[in-house]
């Protein structure tokens, strides 16, 4: 009947429109994305090979700190070599190491070096775990406070905020280093990571050295005595952005993307150093590099060095299951350490010094990439 037809049309058109709008608004991605539109929401967004050679898909997983850089590298490398598609799951260093040891990925990535008990978990037929640095990262203390553009935190203030002994912004310990700035009588909301994180590892290793009262130790997951937990560097940045009076630690590129203000910290020599890539790079100057590249600078002693700096590593198998893929990964890394440096600088990461890059290239040659 005409009446029921129009009723049907009416009954379904309104919900259909709502459904379309609703579905269009629904995003399928899992980690919360900061509204600074990071390119990490695409995973492997590279186009399919334009003919000539089969597409090689490589999967990796691990640290969130270098994720923006890795995604950029994959994009640029794919322009050079369209047959190679690399996807990377930014799940955190702990999960990355686990997946690498379980051999569910082709390479892992971590902001913390492999511990001996983790190394022993790799089965003998994969050889040893090869750990090469790809770039340097530094962890900043980002904050959200109106009217305060250049917050200076002495070691005492910094340590007090992280262990909860300093509770308000106008605490004398903070005020004394920030003359001329009115700090409000608002409570400080400290934001930390709720998931296992290499960024937490870098941050807490510095805390252990810099703060005499720090009791919770260092590691990827620790017992925080205060503060809100957020998932991923993305979660921490989003949280700080949304909460007035919040301060938390995050890798520099995330703070840069979400345009958060960052605090100037005091290093070991007592100098207040602003968090910039140049200051962070100074922390790596003259540091001894051991054979497994486990460079540790928890509290740099150089005069103008920013204090919270680390390398980030990629984990590879010495005897990979799929030698062809391993060869592509090694080629990619060689490219990244040479031609990829410009992207590192552009995004706020620390490119490796040349001698270190040469050493890494030599280590990459030890991977058994020839098919037997």
């Amino acid at each position: 009947m005409a009446f029921s037809l129009s009723a049907t049309c009416w009954r379904f058109s309104v919900p259909a429109i709502a459904l379309t709008l609703g579905l269009a608004a629904c995003t399928p991605q899992t980690p919360p994305a900061a509204p600074g539109a990071s390119t990490s929401s695409g995973g492997s967004s590279s186009p399919v090979a334009a003919g000539g050679g089969a597409t090689i898909s490589i999967s990796g997983a691990g640290a969130t700190a270098p994720n923006p850089l890795y995604q950029r590298w994959f994009q640029e490398y794919n322009k050079q070599k369209p047959t190679v598609q690399i996807s990377y799951d930014s799940v955190g260093s702990g999960a990355g190491v686990k997946r690498f040891l379980d051999q569910t990925v082709d390479f892992g990535a971590s902001d913390a070096v492999l511990k001996p008990d983790e190394r022993s978990k790799l089965p003998a037929d994969r050889g040893t775990a090869i750990q090469v640095p790809t770039t340097g990262v530094f962890v900043v203390f980002a904050y959200n406070l109106d009217g305060v553009d250049n917050l200076k935190l002495s070691r005492e203030a910094f340590c007090g905020i992280t262990d909860g002994s300093i509770k308000t912004w106008n605490d004398p310990k903070i005020v004394k280093d920030n003359a001329g700035v009115t700090l409000p009588n608002e409570p400080i909301t400290f934001v930390h990571r709720s998931d296992g994180s290499g960024t937490t590892d870098i941050f807490t290793k510095h805390l252990v050295k810099a703060c005499p009262n720090w009791k919770a130790g260092a590691g990827k997951t620790i017992e925080w005595s205060t503060g809100t937990g957020a998932k991923g560097n993305e979660g921490v940045s989003a949280n700080i952005q949304q909460t007035k009076g919040a301060i938390g630690y995050t890798e520099f590129s995330y703070a840069k993307q979400t345009q958060l203000k960052t605090a100037t910290l005091q290093n070991k020599t007592g100098t207040f150093v602003a968090p910039t890539p140049e200051a962070a790079a100074k922390a790596l100057v003259g540091v001894e590099v051991p054979a497994d590249y486990a460079v540790k600078v928890p509290d740099p002693t150089q005069a103008d060095a920013y204090p919270i700096v680390s390398l980030t590593w990629v984990l590879l198998y010495e005897q990979p299951k799929d030698p062809a893929k391993a060869k592509e990964i090694a080629d990619f890394l060689r490219w990244a350490l040479k031609d990829g440096k410009q992207y590192a600088t552009e995004l706020g990461y620390l490119p490796l010094p040349d001698e270190l890059a040469t050493k890494v290239a030599a280590t990459l040659d030890t991977i058994k990439v020839a098919a037997k």
């Binding site: 017992e223 925080w224 949304q242």
Partner: protein, 316 residues
């Protein structure tokens, strides 16, 4: 005679193959039904065996300890159990009256069917929004909206233990409210189905006896639909207790128990979501133990629901 024999011959021919099909259909659906139960038991078994090391080490003290330390290998899930119960209860407190109210409104004839049907559809659509989207909406829209209200509550009613801390953004109150929005469509849809399924004769009989509309609703229709409504509430509670991503993003993930709903907390599912991916050894076992406890909680809730329904439902 010929027709009678052919009539008796044909049914036997048809019934053999159709009997075979009948039996096969019963077996197949029976196998699926048993299979579903089997999957549940298999999951429970696996979670149970994986949690044995933690059960052996911590025993029942696990349920009473709040400390969760990976470095020192001391684990206790009291904070998470408390968080799960508080957020779910808060969600129910908000969603049940609203959900049943919506269901009542939509099952009575206040609106013409033309307007009613799209509204029903839109409410059911709320259930289709992914959990992560709720979490994102919570972080960027809901929490900034709620925070001034929370600060006002703390400022003026801070002497009540429920509002005794200053809200710092994420917190139990945000998780409770998001959960209530997520379970509202379940309660509304199922309650509405239960209310509509009450036979019209009962409604007419009540009107015939001189009952007003509201007397009919509260004294006749609701009791008649009681078992369906409670079933819907239990389903909603199950979803609220297990909800992961949205809660993880707005609850603040702080391992502390506080009577104040404005403070941060942690639930079992948010604990698992945060820590499971990189856990190893005793930590994995402890996470499984926490999951087993959640299993147990859901089982207790469902048994309680069944008992309530049996005791109070009207036999039609």
């Amino acid at each position: 005679m010929a027709t009678s024999t052919s009539r008796t011959a044909m049914p036997t021919q048809r019934s053999e193959s159709s009997r075979f099909l009948d039996k096969g259909f019963v077996w197949l659906t029976g196998a699926f039904a048993i299979g579903v139960g089997f999957v549940l038991l298999a999951i429970a078994f696996r979670v149970g065996t994986d949690s044995l090391p933690a059960i052996q080490k911590f025993g029942l003290g696990f349920l009473a300890t709040t400390r969760w330390s990976v470095n020192d290998e001391v684990f206790g899930a009291l904070t998470q159990i408390y968080g799960t119960l508080v957020t779910s209860f808060m969600a129910l407190l908000i969603a049940v009256p609203i959900g049943i109210g919506v269901a009542l409104f939509l099952s009575e004839d206040y609106l013409p069917p033309r307007i009613k049907q799209p509204i029903v559809f839109l409410i059911e659509l709320l259930a289709a929004i992914p959990s992560v989207v709720y979490g994102l909406w919570g972080i960027f829209v809901l929490i900034p909206l709620l925070r001034p209200f929370g600060i006002w509550l703390n400022g003026n009613f801070g002497w009540i233990p429920l509002f005794s801390t200053a809200p710092s953004g994420p917190g139990i109150y945000a998780a409770g409210i998001i959960l209530s929005i997520m379970i509202l469509p379940i309660i509304a849809a199922i309650s509405r189905d239960a209310l509509v399924a009450v036979p019209t004769e009962i409604r007419q009989a009540a009107y015939g006896l001189g009952a007003t509309r509201w007397e009919t609703i509260f004294q006749v229709i609701l009791p008649a639909a009681f078992s369906g409504i409670v079933g819907g509430i239990m389903l909603a509670l199950g979803r609220a207790m297990g909800e992961t991503m949205a809660v993880t993003m707005v609850i603040g993930n702080s391992n502390s128990i506080n009577l104040s709903i404005l403070s941060q907390g942690s639930t079992v599912s948010s604990l698992l979501a945060n820590q499971f991916a990189e856990a190893g050894g005793l930590q994995v076992s402890s996470l499984m133990y926490a999951a087993l406890i959640l299993f147990g909680l859901t089982l207790v809730v469902n048994v309680l629901a069944e008992l309530i329904v049996r005791r109070f439902s009207l036999k039609l």
